[in-house]
């Protein structure tokens, strides 16, 4: 009856009893798969042959000139499906197969993780059900259609705030009832152990490639790396390989309408410790411990919690947390599109917006790497509604 491994005091396994054995089984299977050469070979092969790894580290000539430092983008937008999410879903879907599970469920906010799970299910021949908040279904219509086209069933969630948090609740409720044959493909580094470690492991390939690519192109490590933070999977994915290096690591959260308004999703910047969805981490809650409603223009960042590993590394000071507002993100969305011909996801636009702010502190030889976690086609309609498309 040992307690589960933690990041500092963060993490743990706070779940209803019905899920405990499934989590222990998953922990064991993941450890075996990590040591299994055949499993690693099939994962590596599907990531290169099917998903399109490695993704480029693109030097941005125009942006670098404009901002006055060297700007690189790690191009997860070019991964199949259009976001970093597929690194994780292919890993977990292969693991589900390895465990003999015959059905996948997932939650999704922006729809990117739902699409990535639908893709993995389609290519590996496993049926997929995706829970998605009704509010997110309305604002991410393109991804809802993509999931349906890929053969997944999208189940609308009408409870609570009808966004990502409620989709996770509903996926957990499904899993409690279906745990024998179903694997829950959790989409970020949140949730009970072993999800935070497992998802980060599958996403760490981003930072492994980026480190090698930067050394190759520049002959040195970058000075600063930026990534947006929803649950934290693209951020820990690119940060992890650099934890022991002298590199500034900055996680950029959803500032929404401003931290002072209470309408945001910035759990590292403005949260307090608590338990949501199975782990102790920073989260947004009221004085009595009820989980707060959040807001972000980016559905994938509209979440009141954040992964326990990021919570710990922010707590120790190794990682810096920052936040940018909806309007700053919208401006960065247009900026990168015009400057580089790359339309970033609204989530990733948060990292770009903070990079624009930070550039003033950097010199012409300083190297900045931004994790471009996804492409923004899904957001064009929403951005147009908010006047973020013209000029």
């Amino acid at each position: 009856m040992d307690s589960s491994p933690r990041f500092g005091h963060f993490g743990g396994r706070y779940v209803p009893e019905t899920l405990m054995e499934a989590l222990l089984e998953l922990e064991g299977a993941f450890a075996r798969a990590q040591a299994d050469v055949a499993f690693q070979r099939s994962l590596s092969s599907i990531l290169t042959e099917y998903a399109g790894r490695p993704t480029p580290l693109t030097f941005c000539t125009n942006t670098s000139r404009n901002l006055g430092c060297k700007v690189y983008l790690k191009r997860e937008d070019l991964l199949h499906g259009g976001a970093h999410k597929l690194n994780n879903t292919l890993g977990q879907a292969l693991l589900a197969q390895y465990m003999g599970k015959t059905r996948l469920i997932a939650e999704t906010g922006a729809g990117q993780h739902g699409v990535a799970t639908a893709i993995a299910g389609a290519v590996l021949g496993i049926p997929v059900d995706v829970y998605m908040g009704a509010t997110d279904i309305a604002r991410q219509g393109l991804n809802v259609d993509r999931m349906a086209l890929l053969g997944a069933r999208v189940i609308p969630v009408h409870s609570g705030s009808r966004t990502l948090k409620d989709a996770v609740n509903e996926a957990l409720r499904d899993w409690v009832a279906s745990v024998g044959d179903t694997h829950y493909v959790l989409g970020s580094i949140v949730g009970p152990h072993p999800f935070p470690v497992m998802v980060r492991t599958f996403q760490s390939i981003i930072g492994e490639e980026a480190r090698e690519q930067c050394l190759h192109k520049e002959g040195c490590l970058p000075d600063v790396i930026l990534a947006c933070v929803g649950g934290g999977s693209n951020a820990m994915g690119i940060f992890h390989r650099f934890i022991g290096d002298p590199v500034r690591l900055i996680g950029v959260e959803a500032g929404g309408e401003g931290l002072h308004t209470g309408r945001h999703g910035a759990s590292l910047c403005a949260g307090t410790e608590g338990v949501l969805h199975g782990a102790l981490s920073y989260l947004l809650q009221d004085a009595a411990g009820q989980i707060a409603d959040t807001h972000s223009i980016a559905a994938g960042l509209d979440y009141p919690g954040v992964g326990p590993e990021l919570s710990h590394l922010t707590h120790t000071g190794r990682i810096e947390a920052a936040a940018v507002t909806d309007s700053e993100a919208l401006e960065a969305f247009g900026y990168l599109s015009r400057m580089e011909g790359i339309i970033p996801a609204l989530e990733s636009s948060h990292a770009i917006a903070y990079a624009m702010r930070l550039a003033g502190q950097l010199g012409p030889d300083d190297i900045m790497v931004i994790n471009l976690s996804g492409r923004g086609d899904k957001d064009v309609g929403e951005a147009a509604l908010r006047g973020g498309v013209s000029g």
Binding site: M1, E17, S159, N169, S178, G289
Partner: protein, 267 residues
């Protein structure tokens, strides 16, 4: 002695345990609901502390949590409801809550407040025994029974670990799934009760999905020391939201029928 332990010591027949969300439909009415349950024959009262994100609960209890929260039910209000009930009833009271509400208050403070409110047992639905060292210590210090769930999926090794750490009673989850009513009690559930009966002397309370007198009778026959009915009670409250008199009459009638099904046969 804790009121839960004393109840099982003094009674030969199984306990009928009724659940309601504290604060549903609002804090004052909720006290009247709980009194009605007790007057109608509930042997052990379970109070749910409403939480914004109750992942172990189905739609009926989710909606009750939402009603209670919308009516301003804070954890303070829940303790006040328990205190009001304790003032005029000797029934054992078990509090069902979620981890974040306990941590937010501070574990020690939560258990001291629970004791002061007259609560006898606390079940934190999303806290497995592995994470429970701190709360078990606080519970012991406050004289409150730490109640734990055992699920049909729980392995024999973990069953032993839970049995060694629980007191009051073991809460057997009768189905794979969240709270909510089910049509029948499956044969596997009865086998699960019999299997657990052979492993421990702790009282066994069976819950999740029980809504009909036949469910109660078959669980008791299989060796349950208590049956727990939640969603079916909450659904009656929901059905009669506009009319409190009707609500109380329907609750009393339902509890009487269900209570009778426990039988008076010795356990």
């Amino acid at each position: 002695m804790n009121r839960i332990d004393r109840w099982f010591l003094e009674h030969a027949a199984p306990a009928f345990t009724g659940f309601t969300v504290a604060g549903d439909p609002d804090p004052e009415a909720s006290v009247r609901v709980a009194r009605t349950l007790v007057d109608a024959g509930v042997d052990i009262l379970e109070l749910g502390m409403p939480f914004s994100d109750p992942v172990a609960d189905g739609p009926v209890i989710q909606r009750a949590d939402q009603r209670a929260l919308a009516a301003g039910t804070t954890p303070d209000a829940v303790f006040a409801i328990a205190r009001a009930l304790r003032a005029d009833a000797g029934v054992p009271i078990v509090l069902l809550t979620y981890c974040n509400l306990v941590l937010n208050r501070g574990i020690g403070q939560f258990y001291r407040d629970a004791r002061e409110a007259g609560i006898d047992g606390v079940l934190i639905v999303d806290m497995p025994v592995e994470e429970s060292d701190g709360v078990r210590e606080a519970a012991r210090a406050a004289g409150i029974a730490p109640i734990f769930l055992v699920a049909p999926t729980t392995s024999a090794a973990r069953q032993d670990g839970i049995i060694a750490r629980a007191s009051g009673f073991l809460y057997l989850v009768s189905v794979l799934g969240v709270t909510g009513t089910r049509n029948r009690v499956a044969e596997e559930t009865l086998a699960f009760i019999r299997q657990m009966r052979s492993r421990t002397a702790l009282p066994l309370a069976v819950g999740f999905g029980i809504s009909e007198p036949e469910h109660v009778a078959s669980c008791c026959e299989a060796g349950a020391d208590a049956v727990i009915v939640g969603s079916a009670i909450v659904a009656i409250i929901e059905r009669h939201l506009g009319d409190e008199e009707e609500m109380m009459a329907a609750l009393s009638a339902y509890i009487a029928t269900m209570r009778a099904a426990t039988g008076e046969a010795p356990r």
